[in-house]
Symmetry: C2
Subunit: 373 residues, 2 copies
C-alpha cells in the first residue's frame, strides 16, 4: 500500500446534528450534545432543528443553531423525506456538509462558511437518511453505491466492522469490492488500524461455496489484496464476526441486515432469559444481588449503546446514523464516532483508496472519473 | 386446508443410524442409541457401521446391525463420499430408507424388509450427507431442491423452524415456496402444530424491501396462503426468529447459513463473556456459586444439544443430520426428532401438501408429476 498523503488530524471538528431525529428528538440529542462537547474540546456543533426543538440548547458552548421548519418522522416514507419536506432538520443538517469546514475538500483550515461541517449525525429513519444524503451529497467518484457500516463487539474485545447493512439488496462483485475498500478506510480512520483485515462473508459447507456473485467477489478481493490495495484475509463465516477473525466483514445489504437483526434478536432474548432466571424466585433474586457486579460488567461489555453510530459510506460527505431508539449515552457514542471519522479524514482516506483499487481492475469504468477527484 | 388422510402415528418406528459419523463416531452414537431406546419402547434401530465400530453395540435391544466397510470422514470431499466410498456407513444407512418399513410408502405395517427403516440419522459432514442422500433417494415429486431445516429457541419458549440452512445458495421464488410447504409439514409432524405460521425473511427498511426474488416469493406465498395451502404470516425480519413471531422462517440457504453461524458465534461469545465475568476475581467466583442455579437454568434453556437434529427435506426418505460435534445427549435429541418425524408420517405430509400447492401455481411444472406420487 502506498504511503498516504497527509492524514494529519483536523484541529477542530465541526459536526452538524439533526436534533429532531429519532424516537425522542431533542430530549435525547441535546443532552448528548452537551456531554459530547464536555469531552471533546476540539469539537464544534451545528445544531439543526425547529425553533421549539432547539430552545433547550441555549447556552451550549461552541455551538451554532440552524433552524429548520420541518421534521422527518420515523414513519415517513422516503418520498416524503425527499420531495415534500425540503426544509427538514435532516436535510438541512446534511446540507451543512456541502461545504466542508475542516479541509476535507482541500480547504485545509477552519476558514470555510460558518454553517459548514465535517460530519453529520442523525437518528432519523435509515431509508430517508440514505436517500436524502445521496440526493444532497451524491456519491464519491468510483463508488456506485453507498453502503452502511456498523461495528459489532467480538471476543477479542475489539470491534468487527460489517457492511453493507441494508442499503443494497442486490450487489455485484464490484460493489462488494467497493465496500471492502470503504470499510478499510473507515477502520483505518476510526479504529486507527491502517491495514485492517477484510473477510468476505460466505458459507462454509464443502459442496456449496457461495453464489456466483460471491465467488467472483472473492476473485476481485484477492486481486485487490495481491496488489496491496486491501488486506484480504479470505472467506469468513457468520461466527467469525464474533470471533474477531478479521476487522471488516463484507456482505450484501440483505445478508447484512438479516445478520444484524438476528443478532439483536438473539442478544435481546438471552438478556431477557437471564433476567427471568434471576427473578424466578426469592432465592434467585438473592443470588442476583450477589451476581450483580458480574452481570453489570457483562452487560456493559456488550452494551450496544457503546458502539452506536453507523457510517453511511461512499457519499461526498460523512453521515452517521444513530439508532432511532438511542438514549443520550448512545447518541453521544454516535457523535463520537462521527468525530473520530472526520478528525482522521475518512473522506480523504476513502478517495485515496478507491482510486488505485478500481483503476487496477480490468475494464473498470470507475478509473477515469477517479482521476479527476 | 383439506382434512388430511390418515396421519395415524406409526406403531413402531425403525431408524437407521450412521454410527460412524461425526467427530466421535461410536463413542457418542452408541451410548445415545442406548439412551434413546430406553425412552422409546416403540423404536427399533438399524445400526450401521464397521465391525469394530459396532462391537460395543452387542446386547442393545430392538437393534439390528448392518456392517459397512468404509467411513466418510468430516473432511472428505463430496466427490469422495459419493463416488469412492460406496460402502460407507453413511450411504448404507441412507440406503435403508429405500424400502420404508412402517407404511410411509403405503406398506402400512412392519412387514417390510428387515433392513428397511423409516428415517436415518447421521452426524457426518453436511455436504456429503446431502449429496449422498440426494443420489440414493432422489427428490420427491414436485420438489426441485431439498432443503435443510433446523429449529432455534424463541422467547415464547417454543421453537422457530428455519430453512434453508445452506443446501441452496441461489433460490428462485418457487424454491422458497417449496421450502414453506415442506417446513409446514415438518412443524405439523414434529411439533404437532397443524397450521403453523410461515414468515418470509426480508429486511425492513422502508426504501429497500428486498430483492426481486424475495418480492416474487412473497407473492407466491401470499397466493398459497390465500388458497389455504399454507398459513402465511407475511414478511419477517431477523429478530422475529427469536421473538417467535412465526413458526417457520423461510430464506435461501446462503442467508440461512449466515444467520445460523452468526447466532452460534454470538451465543458462544456471550456465554464466554459471562464465564469470564464470573471468574474474574475471588469475589466474582463466590457470586458465581450463588448464581449457579440461575445460570444453569439459563444455560439449559438455550442448550443447543436439546434441539440438535436438522431435517433434510424434499427427499424420498427422512434423513436427519446431527451436529458433527454432538455428544451423546445431543445425538439422542437428533434420534428423537427423527423418531417424531417418522412416527407422524412426515414424508406423507410433505407429499400431501406439496401437490395441491404447486398444482395451484400458474404454469407449475410440478403439478403433473405430483399426480403420480
Amino acid at each position: 500500500m502506498n504511503p498516504p498523503p497527509s492524514h494529519a488530524p483536523l484541529t477542530t471538528v465541526r459536526i452538524a446534528v439533526d436534533c429532531m431525529g429519532g424516537d425522542h428528538g431533542p430530549a435525547v440529542t441535546l443532552p448528548a450534545c452537551r456531554a459530547f462537547l464536555d469531552k471533546h474540546p476540539a469539537a464544534e456543533l451545528v445544531l439543526v432543528g425547529t425553533e421549539a426543538g432547539l430552545a433547550a440548547a441555549a447556552g451550549l458552548p461552541r455551538t451554532r443553531q440552524v433552524i429548520a421548519t420541518e421534521v422527518v418522522t420515523m414513519d415517513d416514507a422516503v418520498e416524503v423525506a425527499l420531495r415534500k419536506k425540503r426544509d427538514s432538520s435532516m436535510r438541512v443538517a446534511i446540507a451543512q456538509l456541502k461545504e466542508p469546514h475542516g479541509g476535507e475538500a482541500g480547504h485545509g483550515t477552519a476558514a470555510a462558511g460558518a454553517g459548514a461541517a465535517d460530519a453529520c449525525v442523525s437518528a432519523g429513519n435509515t431509508g430517508a437518511l440514505m436517500a436524502v444524503a445521496r440526493y444532497v451529497l451524491k456519491t464519491l467518484p468510483g463508488i456506485d453505491r453507498p453502503a452502511i457500516a456498523t461495528v459489532m463487539p467480538n471476543r477479542q474485545d475489539r470491534y468487527t466492522t460489517v457492511l453493507d447493512l441494508g442499503a443494497n439488496v442486490d450487489c455485484t462483485p464490484e460493489h462488494l469490492l467497493q465496500f471492502a475498500v470503504m470499510g478499510s478506510a473507515l477502520v483505518a480512520a476510526v479504529e486507527g488500524r491502517e491495514e485492517p483485515a477484510v473477510g468476505l462473508l460466505n458459507i462454509g459447507e464443502e459442496a456449496i461455496k457461495g453464489s456466483e456473485t460471491i465467488k467472483r467477489a472473492g476473485e476481485l478481493l484477492r486481486q485487490a489484496g495481491a496488489a496491496g490495495h486491501i488486506n484480504f484475509f479470505g472467506n469468513v463465516e457468520g461466527n467469525d464476526i464474533y470471533k474477531g477473525t478479521v476487522d471488516i466483514v463484507v456482505c450484501d445489504g440483505f445478508v447484512g441486515n438479516v445478520l444484524l437483526k438476528t443478532s439483536e434478536g438473539l442478544a435481546s432474548m438471552l438478556t431477557e432469559f437471564i433476567r427471568q432466571e434471576f427473578t424466578r424466585s426469592p432465592l434467585a433474586k438473592l443470588a442476583a444481588l450477589a451476581a450483580m457486579p458480574a452481570l453489570k460488567r457483562f452487560k456493559s461489555r456488550v452494551d450496544p449503546r457503546r458502539y452506536n453510530g453507523a457510517a453511511l459510506l461512499g457519499l461526498r460527505g460523512l453521515v452517521f446514523k444513530s439508532h432511532g431508539s438511542a438514549d443520550a449515552y448512545a447518541f453521544e457514542s454516535a457523535l463520537a464516532r462521527a468525530y473520530d471519522a472526520a478528525r482522521n479524514r475518512l473522506l480523504v482516506r476513502v478517495q485515496e483508496r478507491i482510486g488505485p483499487t478500481l483503476a487496477a481492475m480490468p475494464g473498470s469504468t470507475a478509473a477515469a472519473p477517479q482521476q479527476a477527484a
